[in-house]
Amino acid sequence: MMTPMVELKGLRKVFGRLEVLRGIDMSVDKGQILSLIGPSGSGKSTLLRSVNLLETPTGGEVWLDGTRVNADLKGLAYERHVNGLRREMQMVFQQFNLFPHLTVMQNLTIGPMKLLGLSKAEAEARGEELLCKVGLAEKALAYPARLSGGQKQRVAIARALAMRPKVMLFDEVTSALDPELVDEVNAVMKDLAAEHITMLIVTHEMRFAAEVTDWAVFMDEGMVVEEGPPDRLFSDPEHPRTRSFLRKHLGA
């Protein structure tokens, strides 16, 4: 059997006395595109952030391509281990989080240059290719402050891709956008889906999830309630909680 690209085993996360993740098991194959849906506060962001250890899991295991991510290491060894693995799974944030003091091109090249050892020329060649891909080649020298929200998010996706990650993590990347800017970002993600880059996508856009992803997971109160192919999950949910959630969100 093939090793899953991302695997979660009994993942638990507690904030103080709040149990946010209560034993999540999940497996994403190489090239698979998984959407994570669920009500606000159900723990979707925390799950995603536990995969790249922006949140430290309280319990359970996170695996990336056969390597234990939350390894049992201490201090500097742990830091080095985590920094190395994070390069292989890039995250795109709801709030873009572009570096405002760097140009678009510098946003794309700093990671590959400082972390992957690419030369400036190599990193810029890679950067140009990616900017073309997201349709922003002419913005290479602009600062992020000069871009629209949709453009910012496309740059953020390009910045993540510049690291050539094994997995892309998307956390509600269109939620902060004006409605008319959502499509341009979705279009970029559809392109990535067509290339079969492994993706974990937290989204509240059911139509997008149905169209683009090949597996959908419905979460509520820190647990996986139900999962399956999106067509099946959305048209014929088994669990009452899934049904009531979808009733609210499918109308859109």
């Binding site: 994070r86 890039q90 709030q95 572009l98 570096f99 690291m163």
Partner: protein
Amino acid sequence: MNLDFSVVPPFAGALAIGALWTILITALAGAISLIVGIGLALARIYAPGWIRALLAVPVFIILGTPLLLQLFLVYYGLSQLGLRLPAFFTGVVGLGLHYAVYNADILRAAILSVEQGQYEAGRALGFGRGATLRHFVLPQALYRALPQIGNNILVLLKDSVLVSAIGIMELVLSAQLAISRTFRPFEFYISVAAIFYLINLALEWALARITRRTEAMR
């Protein structure tokens, strides 16, 4: 009252050298105030409690006593105890540390004002803690703090006259030497004021230039 500025040109060379010392002292002390200021700001945010407690002592002394007294204490006081530090070194470091404390306050607030998302973006790319601070958080904090730090450097320029009290031949002391020969205080002090004003203007111009470059980022 008869003013006669023709007494000044014969001392132009001495005044120019004095002005260069003033500029050099301001530049070096300014650099120290920035670098130590960054270190202090980082320590106050990230260092363990006992280091912060230790640092609070010199900070308390620097904030609570006059700069002139601090210079006297280090220069004359230590020399009485047998530690003779060069006057230039004492003056530059004394000025620099004094303003480092003020810069640290500004920088601390600026570092804390950088959004958590910036730090997370750096870490998520794969940068370590220190590298994330260095590449993403600190530069943005510096840009934000620039106007206030610039102000501090302008005040530092004026305070640099204090080092004349421990015998450094900066601009004012050079003028006093000329006055003791010519007995024309008015002409020389006016000239020195004009030179200070010019240096001030140049510094303001440089700061405005840097600020303008950062405007594209906002």
